[in-house]
Amino acid sequence: MLELLKAPILTFQEFVLLAGRAASGIFRKPYYWDDVFIQMDLIGVGSLPVVILTGFFSGAVMALQMSRALRTYGATSQVGMIVAITLVREMGPVLTALMVAGRNSSGMASELGSMKVTEQIDAMRALGTDPVMKLVKPRLLATAFVLPLLTVLADFVGLVGGYVVACTMLHLTTASEYWSSAWHAIGYDDIAQGLVKPFIFAIVLSLVGCYYGMQTKGGTQGVGRATTQAVVVASVWVVVLTFIIGRVFVTM
C-alpha cells in the first residue's frame, strides 16, 4: 500500500515545490515581459475562437434543455435567470478552463518537454537563466491574467446563445424579459465565484502543464506521455476544484 502511494506523493511534493518556487519568483526579478505578452497572445487571443464557440453553444444547449422543464411549470420567463446562473457560476469557468487545459496545458507540457529532452533546459541553467523564472513564471502570469477574461467573454457569449434559442428559436420569452431576468439573477457572490474560479484554475493549469513538461524523461515518447498526463491531470483538477470552490461559496 505504502509503495503504491509513494509515486503520487512524490509527484505532489515536487509539484508543490515547483509551485512554491514559481510563487516566490513572482515577486523577484528578473521579469521576462516579452515572454509574458507572447504567452498572453498564445493563450488569450489563440483561445478566442474555441472559447467563443464553446460558450455560445453551452448557453444555447442550456436554454434548449431547460425549455421543456420550464414549460411544465409555466416558468418559461425565468429561462434567462437559469442560463445566467449556471453559466456564470459553473459552466463558463469550467468549460473555458477545460478548453484552455486542452490547448495550453498540453502546449506547455510538450514545449517544455521537448526543451527538456534536447537539454535546452540544462543549457538555460548553464547559461545563467533560471528556467522557473524564464519559462514557468511568464506562463503562470499570462494564464492567471487571461483566463478570467476569457471566462467573462464565454459567459457573455453563452448568454447570447441562450437568448438566440430562448427568444428567436423557441419563443419562450421576450428579449427584454430574458435579459432583465438574467441581469437580476446574478449577484455579487456569483460574479466573485465566477472570477475566483478561473483565477485558481489558471494557476493549476499553467503549473500542471509546466510541471509535466519539466519532468519529461525518455525522448520523444516521454514528451507524448507528459502532454497526455498534463491534460488529464489539469482537467481532473478543474472539476475537483470547481466543487471545492463551489462548496466554499455555498456555505458562505
Binding site: 526543451m115 534536447t118 537539454e119 535546452q120 540544462d122 541553467r125 548553464a126 547559461l127 545563467g128 537563466t129
Partner: protein
C-alpha cells in the same frame, strides 16, 4: 571567489551520486589543474554525463565534495551557481541550442543573461560574430538551428560556450553521432579553443580518437590547423569510468601501458 594561479580549478573529492544499488557515480576523486586537459572515457551509462552535470551544478552529488575555482560549491544554491557558471563554458551532447532562437541570439544568450558578466548591449553583436568566426560559421547569424547540419549545430554550440571567454570548458560527447570527418573538425576546434585561449578543458567521450587528438596535436595558428607534437601535450590526463567507478586515472604514458581490458579498449594501442 579568488583563486591562486597554480591551484586546481576543479576538484572532485569522493563524489557519489544516486541511491543504494542505483549508484551512478561511486566515490569519484580527481583534480584538474589550471590549463590542463582531462579526457574522460567510458561506455554508455558509465556516469560520464552525470559527472559533467555535477561539475556544472546541474545535479547535486549525494555525497562527497566538489571544489570549483577554490570554492566548495557542493551546497551552493541555484543563485550562487549562476555566478560560478559564468566562468564555465559547456557544450552539451546534442548542442543544447534553443531551437526557437536564431543562431545570433543563441550565441549571444550567455552574454545577455549571465548576471555576473554585465556585457554592454553594443558589445554583444561583435562578440557573437567573433565567436562564430572562430568556428567558421560567421555567415549563419540569421539562421535557425533547424536549418543547420548536426556538425554545424555542434560548432554553434562551441561558439556559444566560448563567447564568454570562460576559464573552464566542459564538453559532453562533442563528436557523438557525427561522421568521422565532421568529428575531426569538431575536435580540431576544441584543440584550437584550448591552445589559443589556454582554457582548462574537461572532455567526456567514448571515442578513443578524440582523446588522441587532444593528447597528440596542438593548434598551429601559422598553418591554421593542427600540428602533431612529439609525445603528449603537457597537462593531459586520462580518466576511465566503469559503472560509475574510476577504472583508471593517470598520464597518457600510464594509459598506454595499462593492460586492464576495460581501460585498454579506449587506448586502442
Amino acid at each position: 571567489m579568488e583563486q591562486t594561479a597554480a591551484g586546481p580549478i576543479l576538484i572532485f573529492r569522493n563524489v557519489s551520486f544516486g541511491f543504494d544499488e542505483n549508484l551512478v557515480l561511486r566515490d569519484v576523486s580527481f583534480e584538474l589543474t589550471r590549463g590542463a586537459t582531462l579526457i574522460i572515457h567510458g561506455a554508455a551509462g558509465s556516469g560520464k554525463t552525470v559527472l559533467l552535470k555535477i561539475a556544472l551544478g546541474l545535479l547535486r552529488p549525494t555525497s562527497g565534495r566538489v571544489i570549483l575555482f577554490g570554492q566548495d560549491v557542493t551546497e551552493y544554491t541555484e543563485q550562487q551557481w549562476f555566478d560560478v557558471r559564468s566562468r564555465i563554458g559547456v557544450l552539451f551532447q546534442e548542442g543544447g541550442l534553443f531551437d526557437s532562437f536564431s543562431i545570433e541570439d543563441n550565441v549571444g544568450y550567455p552574454l545577455v543573461n549571465q548576471p555576473l558578466l554585465q556585457v554592454p548591449p553594443e558589445e554583444v553583436a561583435p562578440r557573437v560574430e567573433q565567436s562564430l568566426e572562430f568556428v567558421e560559421l560567421g555567415h549563419t547569424l540569421e539562421k535557425f538551428p533547424s536549418e543547420l547540419s548536426g556538425g554545424m549545430r555542434r560548432r554553434v554550440g562551441i561558439a556559444r560556450a566560448i563567447v564568454t571567454q570562460p576559464e573552464l570548458m566542459l564538453y559532453d560527447s562533442p563528436t557523438a553521432g557525427l561522421d568521422p570527418i565532421t568529428a575531426n573538425t569538431i575536435m580540431a576546434l576544441i584543440v584550437k579553443g584550448r591552445d589559443m585561449r589556454r582554457a582548462t578543458t574537461l572532455i567526456v567521450t567514448h571515442r578513443h580518437q578524440d582523446g588522441e587528438i587532444l593528447e597528440r596535436f596542438r593548434w598551429d595558428d601559422s598553418i591554421g590547423g593542427l600540428k602533431k607534437v612529439e609525445g603528449a601535450t603537457a597537462g593531459t590526463r586520462y580518466l576511465v569510468l566503469e559503472d560509475g567507478r574510476i577504472a583508471f586515472l593517470g598520464s597518457p604514458a600510464e594509459f598506454d601501458v595499462c593492460n586492464e581490458p576495460h581501460v585498454a579498449k579506449f587506448s586502442s594501442r
